[in-house]
């Protein structure tokens, strides 16, 4: 690797004002994904000499021809023995502008389950294709899953440009084809970058080998992509997580509702409604341990106090009287099934966790199973097996306080839990709550 580097996160006070970007990477080892991640870590001085030395030693002992950077993330014994990636690995790096969390999702085994997991919290997804091969079935599947999970920003990296003679024509053909496919999906923001992860072209700085490319380097884009507007600041949604009532002689009559703001902006004096009861009140104060704050917005964890004494408990939702989520027991949702032992079946009963609320649910119907490669809907499907996606209708024991997932990723997403094994067996994205 060349030694072109950027400054590591600064030690001074400005470093404390960096923001945070979470991104998911999709692609297989063959696409050069591990090389790209290794390159990003290396060039931002986030890869340490002892980590690199350990990888080099293991590579040499296995007889690899080159330092296999996949070993950086494939930390488990079974992964090293079998040469596969089993699970989502989290990696961290920072530049003076931003801290980055990478959810690195493996390309082969349990692909959909891992990709959906990584994408669920991502601000951005990075999809890799090999310039020599162009778009493959897997690239389309990645793009579809990112749109299903409503990842706001998508970056297509056309890698191995060095192996196609830095050809503008090859790049543009792939970019055009992908852009056309993305137009059929819900992809709000797409950027395409030609790179060579191995040689470092267009990773940190603009490549001299591709003067025809006028866009930003990958890191430049990651550092500057505008994510502040991705948050929903319109719909006030505050799922009550825990009621703070000090049992103390010094603090008396204190009753605060603790939680993390899902969306919207809360401030003292605002008129609010509490669901499912429908009672209204005013916000007396928005507090943190460091004192009251003027406003609370995502992703802040705060404590809200109300002017009136209302019976509120965990799982309730504070919203605005004129802007409330649905209070619904009939839920239409897209489900990604994640259990290898038992499929989702019509009539099946499960536990559900949605915001801070738990319920039980019965599957009333399966409208169709979606082929994630062709987007074909199979309406004859009777069940969803591991890694299959379909649209279902659920009936819950208690109402969910729910929004459409496309409008709110926090109040629109839920997980399905098998009550016998306690395992998380599915992810749900609400299409309609009525």
């Amino acid at each position: 690797m060349s030694v072109e580097t950027v400054a590591p996160a600064e030690a001074d006070a400005s470093a404390r004002q960096m923001d945070l970007l979470r991104f998911a990477t999709a692609g297989s080892v063959d696409d050069g994904k591990s090389t790209l991640i290794g390159r990003l870590l290396y060039d931002t001085k986030s890869l340490f000499t002892d980590q690199l030395a350990a990888v080099e030693a293991v590579s040499a002992a296995r007889g690899d021809e080159y330092t296999n950077l996949a070993l950086l993330t494939d930390g488990l014994r079974a992964e090293r023995e079998q040469g596969i990636t089993i699970d989502v690995a989290y990696r961290y790096f920072a530049t003076p502008r931003r801290k980055f969390i990478i959810a690195d999702t493996p390309g082969h085994i349990q692909y959909t389950r891992n990709m959906v997991t990584g994408a669920s919290t991502a601000d951005l997804a990075l999809i890799l294709v090999d310039a020599r091969k162009g778009l493959v079935e897997q690239s389309r599947r990645h793009a579809f899953l990112c749109s299903l999970l409503r990842v706001p920003h998508l970056v297509l990296c056309v890698n191995k440009m060095d192996l196609v003679d830095w050809s503008q024509e090859v790049f543009e053909q792939i970019a055009d084809e992908f852009t056309a496919f993305a137009a059929k999906l819900d992809v709000p923001d797409l950027t395409v970058v030609p790179i060579s992860a191995l040689q470092g072209d267009n990773i940190v700085s603009r490549s001299e080998n591709m003067p025809w490319y006028e866009g930003p380097s990958l890191l430049h884009h990651l550092e500057r992509v505008h994510i502040a507007s991705d948050r929903n600041l319109v719909d006030v949604r505050f799922p009550v997580q825990y009621v703070i009532r000090p049992q103390s002689t010094t603090v008396t009559d204190y009753r605060g509702y603790a939680g993390q703001v899902a969306s919207g902006v809360l401030k003292a004096g605002d008129e609010v409604m509490v669901l499912p009861s429908g009672f209204t009140s005013r916000i007396a104060a928005v507090e943190t341990a460091d004192g009251p704050v003027d406003e609370a917005f995502p992703p802040m964890s705060v404590t809200v106090r109300l002017a009136d004494e209302i019976d509120i408990s965990r799982g309730d939702m504070i919203c605005r009287p004129n802007n409330a989520p649905a209070v619904a027991q009939d839920i239409e949702a897209m489900i990604c099934w994640m259990d290898e032992t038992r499929p989702l079946q019509v009539g099946g009963r499960y536990a559900i966790k949605h915001t801070t609320r738990s319920a039980r649910a019965i599957v009333r119907g399966l409208h169709y199973r979606l082929d994630v490669n062709s987007l074909h809907r199979d309406e004859t499907a009777g069940e969803l097996k591991l890694n299959e996606i379909g649209r279902v209708r659920l009936r819950t024991t208690v109402p969910l306080l729910a929004d459409e997932y496309r409008r709110n990723r926090t109040t629109g997403g839920f997980v399905i839990i098998d009550e016998a094994t306690n395992r998380t067996v599915g992810a749900g994205m609400i299409v309609e709550a009525g």
Binding site: A9, L20, F48, I244, Y254, A258, S301, K353, R423
Partner: protein
């Protein structure tokens, strides 16, 4: 919180908010949580986050120290002072006591890292804890990079890396049967540098050994071990005085110091930002046993 008009928060505020959310989630859903407190910087930060999560109420769970008997006196003193200040219940799971009772046996190399696992599991069973907060971070070690925020452990306290629950959005699944438990890692997404920036911002006091001081040490395998009652030089090893500090605090017989002049939090941040070696790589003899030393310990029930 430092917010701008654009409704943005800094990365430290985002990490703090996530950790507080996780701690509240555990207290809301689990029966008997406990916080593992070693007196190390990560558990100290975790304790500060617990204070913030439940203010103005007190921290609603006890803390537990798995005591290998090989302690730095400065750290024990810090632990007792902190616990008294916060009015917390302290449970000590003692390895020396377990050795006396015959629950565990001293390992051949004298390291107690591995034998603290049965002692921890014994205390968990005795107190019927169902959720254990640990200060482990994913950036520390490659096995930990694949760890969940809520990590399920079976009735033997074992971690099965191939059989982890998918963790989507901020929806954590803490369901378990009696006897099973969940390890919870609120600092999963923090890096060593994040922890130090937070310590600086929050002005959190630390045990003095985290800052540069003079100490008598022995160099072994490229690491500097303090000479004390738990660690004595072998033949041919010459003790010498050096200016050092500790990057991690663990068992005093297998935790090494690093050469450092950083005697303030600002200087430590500068040093950590510039260092090219991971904190465990620089200071932990116990991770050097094999490529998968950490994974193997975690499978047995270690953090």
């Amino acid at each position: 919180m430092t917010a701008t008009a654009a409704y943005q928060v800094s990365h430290l505020d985002a990490l703090e908010a996530e950790s507080i959310f996780v701690m509240r989630e555990v207290v809301a859903e689990m029966e008997r949580p406990v916080l593992l407190f070693s007196g190390g910087k990560d558990s100290i930060v975790m304790l500060r986050l617990a204070q913030k999560a439940f203010a103005p109420a007190n921290i609603p769970f006890p803390v537990m120290h798995v005591d290998t008997g090989h302690n730095f006196p400065e750290v024990l003193e810090y632990r007792d002072q902190r616990v008294a200040e916060l009015g917390l219940q302290l449970i000590v799971a003692s390895v020396p006591e377990a050795l006396t009772k015959g629950l565990v046996r001293e390992s051949a190399d004298g390291m107690r890292n591995r034998i603290q696992t049965p002692v921890l599991l014994d205390a968990v069973e005795k107190h019927r804890f169902d959720a254990l907060f640990g200060g482990a971070r994913r950036d520390e070690e490659k096995a930990r990079a694949k760890e969940r925020m809520f990590s399920f452990r079976d009735e033997f306290g074992q971690w099965d890396p191939k059989n982890q629950r998918p963790e989507l959005w901020a929806l954590y699944n803490g369901r378990h049967h009696p006897g099973e438990s969940i390890r919870v890692f609120p600092l999963s997404n923090w890096t060593e540098l994040d922890v130090w920036h937070y310590i600086a911002r929050e002005r959190i006091p630390l045990p003095s050994i985290y800052y540069a001081h003079q100490r008598e040490v022995i160099e072994r395998d490229g690491m500097l071990y303090a000479v004390n009652e738990f660690f004595r030089g072998r033949a041919g090893e010459q003790p010498f005085k050096a200016q050092v500090r500790y990057r991690t605090v663990g068992d005093a017989s297998c935790t090494a110091a690093v050469r450092s002049d950083a005697d303030t939090v600002e200087k430590v941040i500068e040093e950590v930002a510039a260092t090219r070696i991971t904190e465990r790589g620089a200071t932990r003899g116990d991770d050097r046993v094999s490529e998968a030393a950490m994974e193997d310990r975690k499978r047995e029930g270690y953090f």
